[in-house]
Each structure stands twice: as structure tokens, then as C-alpha cells.
């Protein structure tokens, strides 16, 4: 009898509480800072070029070999604007192959690569698997919007 009244009170109190569910595709819960989605490249706004010099450290460390990096001479170094002798030419990451192990981030000498800690790193469904091979501009796009606060292990 008392339990009946107690349970009625309980359901009414949960009714008055805020719902725990949210309207997912139109509303997002905040992602933790150290959330580990797919790796992206970071953009150096001071010199207006990428941090990445194309040194192949991440490519060699990658256990699933999902990266392809090429390096070129940095034109801005010749002009004296930048201290980077070399800069990356092309950079491909196959997100379909990446296993999000964070090793590329840890081996990077220039803190040029970071794990995407936004929802953009999770909502990546595509029709064709080939669309998951990201090129240089796609990898840099998020950093260029300044909307990401990358968490880079120090």
C-alpha cells in the first residue's frame, strides 16, 4: 500500500525532471576534450601554413598503414617567412582503415596532427567507401575553421 504511493511519487518526480534523451541529429551532447575520433591535421595561423612538414613519422608509425604523405620544399622558407624547410605536399588518410589508435599523434614531432574531438569526427557515414579517403584539404578543413580545440598529448 505504502509502496504503491511511493512508486506513484517516484514516477511523478521523474516526470518533472528534465529528460535525459536529446533530439540527437539536431542536438548534440558535448564531446569530451580527449575524445578520440579520426586524426586531422592542424593549421598554423601565424604563418598561414600547416604545422605538418610531411616528415613521414606518422606514416611509418601507423600500424594499419592508412596514411600516405608526400613532402615538398617550402616556398615560404625561401621567402624567409617560415622556419620550416619542408612542408607537406599531399596527405591522405583512409578513415575506413584507421583504427583510431592515437599513435600518429604521439609520434608527431611538430604537434601537427591531432585526434578530432568534435562530432564531425563521428558522423562520417558516406555512400561510397572511397569517400572516406581524406585528402589534405579535408584533413585541414576543421582546423582552419578555428572551431576545434585539439587535445595534443605533451
Amino acid at each position: 500500500m505504502i509502496g504503491v504511493l511511493k512508486s506513484l511519487g517516484l514516477t511523478m518526480s521523474t516526470m518533472l525532471r528534465k529528460p535525459v534523451t536529446i533530439q540527437y541529429p539536431s542536438a548534440h551532447r558535448s564531446v569530451p576534450e580527449r575524445d578520440r575520433a579520426f586524426p586531422i591535421l592542424l593549421w598554423d595561423f601565424e604563418i598561414d601554413e600547416s604545422f605538418c612538414t610531411g616528415c613521414h613519422a606518422c606514416e611509418r608509425a601507423c600500424p594499419v598503414e592508412c596514411m600516405t604523405v608526400t613532402m615538398m620544399d617550402n616556398p615560404k622558407f625561401a621567402e624567409g617567412k617560415s622556419k620550416r624547410r619542408k612542408i607537406l605536399d599531399e596527405f591522405f588518410i583512409d578513415y575506413a582503415r584507421c583504427m583510431r589508435c592515437n599513435i600518429c599523434v604521439e609520434v608527431c614531432n611538430f604537434d601537427a596532427i591531432a585526434m578530432n574531438n568534435t562530432w564531425a569526427g563521428h558522423e562520417l557515414s558516406v555512400v561510397d567507401r572511397k569517400d572516406l579517403v581524406m585528402d589534405r584539404e579535408q584533413l585541414l578543413a576543421l582546423s582552419k575553421t578555428r572551431q576545434i580545440r585539439p587535445w595534443v598529448p605533451s
Partner: protein
Amino acid sequence: MSLLAWGLFGVDMNVWLDAFLRLQLVVVVMTVTVMFLIYFERKFVGRIQMRLGPMRTGPYGSLQSVADALKLLTKEDLRPSTADFWLFELAPYVTFIPAFMTLMALPFMEGWGVRNLQLGLFYIVAVSGVTVIGYIMAGWASDNKYALLGAVRSAAQLISYEIPLILAVLAASMVAGSLNINDIIYLQDTVPNIVLQPLPFVILMIALLAELSRRPFDIPIGESELVGGPWVEYSGIRWSIIFALSEYALLWGMSILTAMVFFGGWEWPFGTRSWWGDFDFLYQLLLIFVKSFLLILVVMWVSATFPRLRIDQLMAFCWKILLPFGFLQVMINGIVLMYLKDSEVARDIVLFLTSSALLVAMGYVIYWATRQAPREVRVGPEYALGSISR
């Protein structure tokens, strides 16, 4: 007099045409209410479970019922090849028509119902009991063991709980001294029946839950064990007639009846005359709707809270608790009304005291019964147990 008191909207017309137009009005209001109730229940239960409920169709999902109705109406109307054609096709109507007929005798406003029956209460109780025939028809005709099991269970449950329901309504009508719902409402101008008769109100609400096969008493339709009871094989429009319309129409009709019999309908708390002048009828309608929706809210709240009873618990609760206390209330009412005819105040006080005492006693009996150690039941023949220790 309000605008709707004579004829229909003050127009004199043929009796049959008048009845037909009133029916159409009730049908439209009922359908809209049912659609609202379905949406409201989904939202309310969602919030109780800390979900959002329907959100996508329309602002805050408010068009969900419309979308559901469209989907159900355009869906294929399936019939199992082994089903009994006529019984299967007609069962939804047999469940729906009694639910609809209960709305015929309800005075929604002062002097405005489809018909004002002298034996309105009797008629409603009698007619709403016919629903069970539709359940049995559906269960039998589906040629499905789950449907048949559900039908048999609903027969047992609905017929059992009909009796406490009738006793509760009877106790209230004894106080009023009439079976005409208009009279019962008029007599509650100062004190509503809920004060005089709290026990019958509680019995009525419990019996209502069982009559509607709602959650603590949803043994006939239990999704987890009977996959939907008598309606397993139904789909599309027939399913929507059974489930959406008759279920919720009966819920709405019975809540309005409860609001009228126990909460003074449009009479209590401010009397029929209000400051709305010519638009009194709108105020009365509003009052009836608010009261019935509060009751529906309670029904939904209870059904969202409790788990399903076992069949023996359900039967024991009806026959061992609700029924004796219902009879006791009726007998005490008879004695009180017989011997305290002269003073209305004394009669009201004694009615209130006896009924609340009975309510407390019923609560205590339930409390005591749930505290008892479960009775030991021998599950097999005695020789199978090895040694007979008890």
C-alpha cells in the same frame, strides 16, 4: 438558458435529424480527443521515463497522431487465411460501438447530451460491458493461440471487474437517489460525491483501469507474453478501430462519467450559472473537459507506474477486496440513507465518515495481505515430493 438547451443550436427540427447531428458532433469531438489523448499519453509516459516522446512530426511532435492515423488507414488490411471471416471482420465494430454508445447518454453541458436518459447510468454501465464480446470474437476468429488466450483472459477480467465498477457507481447513485446523470450532477452543487463517497471513487478508478485493460491490469493484452492479446492478427484500419478508437474513447467516456458522478460535472464548484452569461455552455464544457482530463492523467500516471499483476492476484484483488468492500459500502449507504432522511448535514457527515473509514479499512486489508508470507502450494503429487513434511 444556454444556447444549446433547446433543440440543436436553438433550431427545432426532426427528432431523428436532431439525434443524427448530435451524434456527428460527438463523433468529431471524440475522434479529435482520441487523437489528442494518444499524443498526450506518449508524451506523458515519455516524460515519466525521462524520454522526450514524439518530437519529429510537427512542433514537439504534435502531428504524431495525424501521421499515425494516415499510416494506419493506408496500411494493408490483413486477414489470416484460417480466420473466421465474419467474426474477424466484425469484431472491431463490436468493441467500438459499445464504447461509442456510452457517449450517447453523457450530458456534456447542462441540458445538452445526445439524449438525456432517465436510466443513463444504468445504460452506460450496461452498454460498456458489451465490449468484452468484441474481444472474444476477435480472439476466437483470429485462429491464433495467443489471441484466444488473450480473449479468454479479457473475458475473465472484464466480467469480474464489471461488478465492483457497477457497485461503485451504484453507491454514488444511491446518495443522489437517481440514475439520471443530470440529476446526479444537480445534487452535487455544494458537496461533490468524492467527499461523500471516497471508497466508491477509488474502487471505480481501479475497476476502470481493469475495464480498459490498462497497465497494472493489462493481462489480456500483455505484449511480453501474449504479443497483443486478442488483436494479434489485426492490422491497419481494423486495429486502429479497436485500439485507438474504442480503447481511448472508452477511457474518455468513462473519465467523463467519473467526473460527472464523483466530481459534480459542470455543477460543482461554481454552480451552473457563471459570469460567462450566454456562453455558460462553453464554461461547462471546459469544466467537464478539465475534470475528465485530470482523471485521464491519473489513469495514465498509474498505468505508467505499476508492473503487470499475475492473473491470480488480479482475480483475488477483485473478488476478495474490491467486491466485499463495494457491497459493504452499498449496504452502509442503504442504512444511512434510510435512517438519516431528515437532516441532510448529518447524512452527509455520516456518509463521509463511514466511506472514509471503509477506505482506510480497505487500505489496511491490502497492506496486511501483501505482508503475509505466501501460502505454501504443493506443486506435484504428494508421493513425488519424497517426504511429506507439511
